[in-house]
Symmetry: C2
Subunit: 144 residues, 2 copies
Amino acid sequence: MDDSTGTINKLRANGGRVTPVRRALLQILSSNKQPGSPRQLLAQLKKKGFDANKTTVYRQLEMMHGAGIISEINLSDGVKRYELADSGHHHHLICLRCARIDDVVLPAGLEPRVEIAKMIKRVKKFAVERHSLEFFGVCARCRE
Amino acid sequence: MDDSTGTINKLRANGGRVTPVRRALLQILSSNKQPGSPRQLLAQLKKKGFDANKTTVYRQLEMMHGAGIISEINLSDGVKRYELADSGHHHHLICLRCARIDDVVLPAGLEPRVEIAKMIKRVKKFAVERHSLEFFGVCARCRE
DNA sequence: ATGGATGCAAAGTATTTGCATGAGA
DNA sequence: TCTCATGCAAATACTTTGCATCCAT
């Protein structure tokens, strides 16, 4: 029983069948340290011996995203990336040199939340449901 | 002399020639209230009577982005959008219903900046250069 | 068995590249 | 004149769709 067990249950709860490819994809997602693009995820599947099709990967990701199992990240390169949604609320550090993506959890006090949402509702009449915050810069490895 | 005069000078400063298409593109960008995609910008050019080519638009946008004249925005739909960079630091409100994009300027106190950058540098050894913060939700018009 | 899941091919959309021509400086 | 800018076509990349087949339930 690894980390992907919980997500498999979510899959079932959403009426999804538990197929080998799905199981493998969830396992990959749960062990990945960085969000993966469809291409990367497909490559990982193949490395595991599943000769899956890209169409399937796209469809899986779309389904899981819709079901709230994974979340989607958009950076500056036109490629979407996915990570498990239950990895907790965090933000991303994107290295401008090596493109590595790291996570960062902000202390509650620094998290842009309640006050900003209130202000936006008051001033703009816009009801914030979620936010995404990314930091671009140079990572430790590239700064050495 | 409209708002695009300053950006035309930036263009010159970057060794760029001032061509009709460039002038028009900058004027369009400076009068747009929302960030525009290459496709939209091309359509706007054509409406103005410039039968420009999409390749040209892409190249212009790439050049201006590299020169820091415009900034690039990536949402969830796989299309890049561009807006003038000197419109001041702000963030975006993206409506999940109608896809409208509005700007919001956060009061200095709520802006995620110095403290967070320091914390990230200390904890992650990551040197933040810039950040992007987007809010997703439902806009005033769609909430009525 | 039966409806959702998969694979394959083809189509659709966004973006980039090569190369010949055109026009600012 | 001499580059840089432009247009066109073709290529590449990413994603979606149609349809026949397969398999988890």
